[in-house]
Each structure stands twice: as structure tokens, then as C-alpha cells.
Symmetry: C2
Subunit: 321 residues, 2 copies
């Protein structure tokens, strides 16, 4: 018998399910739309049947021993999804217990940033590290924090909301109801907001002036920056300045070995990493200077989220061996 787990990445648009070995290899994957189901129970049924179907397609020697789920606002302590901004089902959704009643195996639930952090620790660039942080940069900004080899969950399972720390009082309006949150500056939409702020502040000609706000993507701003567009380059500089300043705070509090940037916006590479590192160093308390690495994820980009989700349950199963 060969044991295997399912890793599930629940996004606002799609749910991705993969089967992942103890070595972090994703041997099969499938995708289905998240929100086309009439209610959360129907969604759970679909998710369970997709996992079962994927298992049935494997050699009969494979046995499912657990499911790890990375979900928006997923709480490790309760297994619930709680008031996720990008899901239409509100309140507290019993994801862990619901999935367990369908599949009868242990289920581990957490948010996608915690899943990414465990994935990095078990299979990625953080192998051998005890203290590190993963920042996920996409529609929002999430963070998974590892201290002394363990995921920091906090008293309620919701630690790691770095995206909702304050950049400044009376700053940009955030979807969470506050203003000035880090993710309103540092995320794919944050970069777009910054580009439009710079277009307003400056009289510099820019290819950006041909795009509407709804047209332009973070990836396109990156492409324009690569082509030398000054405002686009400045947008990354501004983003890195704010991220670097806040990372200096996080380093002062937690003293990690490394900070990994993960997800969509991190693909901008040097455009984002260089100003982030420079501004972090500038803002660091002297004890911490030139010690902390800022690194890209060491996980295979394509399956990274699913492998991270699988790491959640592999770590749980390892503990119980």
C-alpha cells in the first residue's frame, strides 16, 4: 500500500485538487469552478467526489490517508472557513468536519499563506530553516509565519494577517473595512493603485496613460517596467519601499532567517525583490542588518499551492506517527 494525501487549493474562482506523495510530488491534478454550486453543502459533495475520482484513477495500491486544504480565512483550530471576502457563502463554513464526514480521513485546514509556508518548509526553499516567513502576493497579501519549526497560529488560529497591518493612518481604503492596510499597497491591485497614483502625481509621459484602471494588470505593469517605462518602474520602487519598511518591522519582532515572496506579483522578480531588499535593509534595526534573505519560493510554481496544502496534512500525520 502506498499512502497519499489530497492537497486542495480553494480560490474564489477555481478549486484545484492534487494528489501529493510524502516526498511532495504531485502525481495527479484536477480543477473545478468553486462558486457554481448552489450552496456550501453541494460544494463539499463536489469536492469530496473530485478527490475520490482522482484516487480511483490511480493504481489500486494507492490509499488516501488525509486531506490538506488551503482556503481563504481557513482556520486550523476549527477547520472552518470564516467570512471569506472572495466566497459567496458567508458565516462559518464547516469545511474540515464536512469533508471528513464524506471521506473519513483526517482533514487539515488553514489559509493559503500558512499552506505555502509549510510547503516551503517541507519541500521548498525553507528546508532546514526553523524561523522564516512566507508572504503571498496576489489579489491580497497573506503571510505564513514559522517560529522554531512550527507554524504560528496564535490564540484563535488566525495569526499571520500581515496584509492588514497599517502602512499609514488615513491611507488607502481596504476591502476589510479599514484603511491604510499593507495589502492596499502591496498586492496585484495595490501595484495598479500605485501606478495610477503616480500617473496623477507626475507629468512624465508613460505607456500606462493609454490604459484604463480596469484594463491594466500587474503583469502588464511589470512588462512595461521591463521595457523601461519610468512610471511603471517607479510603481515597483514604491511597492518595494512599503513592503521593505514593513518587513523591517516583522524582522525586528521575529528575527527570521529568510522571507519568501510567493505568488503572482513575486513573478516580477528583480523589479520587486531589489527595492524590497534595499528598503528593508535601510529600515532594519542594526542587529539585523545583512542577515535576512529575501527569496523567491523554492516550490514548483505550477503545483505550489496544492503541494503547500498537502504539506498541512503531511505535517499533522507525521506528528501522530
Amino acid at each position: 500500500m502506498k499512502t497519499i494525501v489530497a492537497g486542495v487549493d480553494i480560490g474564489g474562482t477555481n478549486t484545484v485538487v492534487g494528489l501529493v506523495t510524502r516526498d511532495g510530488e504531485c502525481i495527479a491534478e484536477t480543477t473545478f469552478p468553486t462558486q457554481s454550486h448552489i450552496n456550501f453543502n453541494k460544494y463539499l459533495e463536489r469536492l469530496a467526489s473530485e478527490i475520490s475520482a482522482l484516487i480511483k484513477m490511480q493504481p489500486s495500491t494507492y490509499s488516501l490517508v488525509g486531506v490538506g486544504v488551503g482556503a481563504p480565512n481557513g482556520c486550523y483550530n476549527t477547520g472552518n472557513i470564516v467570512d471569506a471576502a472572495n466566497l459567496k457563502w458567508k458565516g462559518s463554513l464547516p469545511l474540515g468536519s464536512g469533508l471528513n464526514s464524506h471521506l473519513n480521513v483526517p482533514i487539515a485546514v488553514s489559509n493559503d499563506a500558512n499552506a505555502a509556508a509549510l510547503g516551503e518548509m517541507l519541500y521548498g526553499g525553507a528546508r532546514g530553516m526553523k524561523n522564516f516567513i512566507v508572504i503571498t502576493l496576489g489579489t491580497g497579501l497573506g503571510s505564513g509565519i514559522v517560529v522554531d519549526g512550527k507554524l504560528v497560529l496564535g490564540s484563535d488560529g488566525f495569526a499571520g494577517e500581515l496584509g492588514h497591518t497599517a502602512v499609514k493612518a488615513y491611507g488607502r481604503q481596504c476591502g476589510c473595512g479599514k484603511s491604510g492596510c499593507l495589502e492596499t499597497y502591496v498586492s496585484a491591485p495595490g501595484l495598479r493603485r500605485t501606478a495610477f497614483k503616480l500617473l496623477a502625481d507626475s507629468i512624465e509621459p508613460s505607456a500606462l496613460r493609454n490604459y484604463s484602471y480596469d484594463q491594466i494588470s500587474a503583469k502588464q505593469i511589470g512588462n512595461l517596467a521591463e521595457q523601461g517605462d519610468a512610471i511603471s518602474i517607479e510603481a515597483f520602487e514604491y511597492t518595494g519601499a512599503i513592503l521593505g519598511m514593513k518587513l523591517a518591522d516583522v524582522v525586528a519582532i521575529l528575527s527570521p532567517e529568510a522571507i519568501f515572496l510567493f505568488g503572482g506579483l513575486s513573478n516580477a522578480g528583480r523589479l520587486l525583490f531589489e527595492p524590497t531588499k534595499r528598503h528593508m535593509e535601510k529600515n532594519l534595526f542594526s542587529n539585523f542588518r545583512n542577515k535576512v534573505q529575501i527569496l523567491p519560493s523554492g516550490l514548483n510554481g505550477e503545483n505550489a499551492a496544492v503541494i503547500g496544502a498537502a504539506a498541512l496534512i503531511w505535517q499533522d500525520l507525521d506528528k501522530n506517527v
Copy 2:
């Protein structure tokens, strides 16, 4: 035989040594000036002899089994004091190994905020808590962070430098060489700086206008506030606004059950706690609202620092049982 440890609190002015039982009772205490010694080795000799003398004064059934030291920039991992701002001896000072060679018992070194956090966990208001933070408010602002029942030391043993996170770019000059650090706003000197800023900004009459900067203390500003002096009250409001805002960040990152305010400035009580709590709640991400307590230290004020230092070594000794 009754086992006992020495708790040592090294301050810029005085060193306090106490003998502390496993139950956290300080049964004897002595004090000597820290910086009257010609070099660090002479200081170490004096410290060891003060501890030995204190033991000799006890019934012969008492046996010293370890020493815990809370010291500025004390590093748990190495046992060294590294470039402490308020000590005249610079570089890396081998406190742990030096003391061990004199006394031949295990030595645990950390900074005073970490000592306070362990003291709170073993003997104070954090008994039974797994996730909490202690903020020490005196000449500076220190923090000791406990996650999942363990002190957060970070990759180099220097985690917890919340005092050097950023309130704002181009803010007040800090002794650490940066500007805008939290401790330039929230500490005893920070309160004084705020009071003088408010005297400059406002035309309100105030008893504070009779004091020079070097004359007035944080305690006196507290007394004037209690008597209804508007600028003094406003100085606490401003201090609480900044501390509350930064604590909201820390809660978003770590999700603690409680935050303890410890040391000199925390004695201002309601004057400080009320605006801090109010502004923290205002800045909290919705998940965390009305969950996190802000509490005074539960340790006996007089011996708190020494009991905290003793907790450092008791926790180490407990691990090895």
C-alpha cells in the same frame, strides 16, 4: 537540600540580584552599581561574589542550581551581551560563560523583556496562557513574545525588538541610529518628548510650561494629568494612540490572547491603558476585535525584574528534568 536560583537584573545604573525559589518567591535581594567597575571582568567577579555572599547568608540547606540574567541586549543563544546602548563596555561581552566559570552552575541570559515574559508566564498574569506578549516601558520599549508556550527568540536570539519598529518615516531621532522608532514615542522619554511637542503645537496654558525638558519626568507628567492638566492628558492620549496602532499590527501578525504592559510608564494605569486599548481596537482587523486583553503585569512590582530573570533559568532547568 532546597534548590534555589539567582535572578539578576542588569540595568545601566544598578544591578539587582535576588534569590528566587521554584515557586517564584524572592527570599533575599541585594543591589550594587553596575558601571563602577574598571572593566567587564571586574564586574563579573563582583556579580559572582554578590551571588555567593547572598547564598552564604541563607540556611546551609539552600543549594544554588542556576542563574538567570536579564540584561540589555542579552542574547539567549550565546549568553553574551552585545553592544548594549546603556552600558559603557562595548562589543560582545561573555556574560553567560564568564559567570559559569565563576559559579559552575547553568546560566541563562536574555534581555529584560524576555525575562519579564517568562516571569509573567511562570508566576504572573499569563499563567495558563500560550500566546501573549509583554511590553516593557521604561527608558526604552522592549518586548517579550510567547508563541505556543515558548519564548520567541528568532534565528539569532534577538527577536522582540518591537521598540525599533517604525511609527513613521522621518520621525523622531532614535538612540539606535534610525528615526521614527516606536520607543521614541512610547517610553518614559517618549512621553516627555510628546509633552514638549504638544507644548510647541498648542497655546493651551499648562503647568508643564514651568518645567525644563531635563527637569520633568514621566511620573510628573502623570501626576499633572491626574490633576487635570490638559496637555499632560493629551500626551498620554497621543502615546496610547501610537502604542495602540502598533499593537494592532502585532495582534494581526501573532494573534495573542493578551498583551501585558510592564515597567515604569505602565504605572500610569488608566491614563495609558485606556487610550491604548481604544486605539488598538480601532485599528484591529475585524477578526481580532474585542478578543485581546491589555493587562498590567501580574508580578509583584518590587521584585518583578529579578523574578523574571529567575524564570529564565527555572524554565531551562525544568526542561532538563
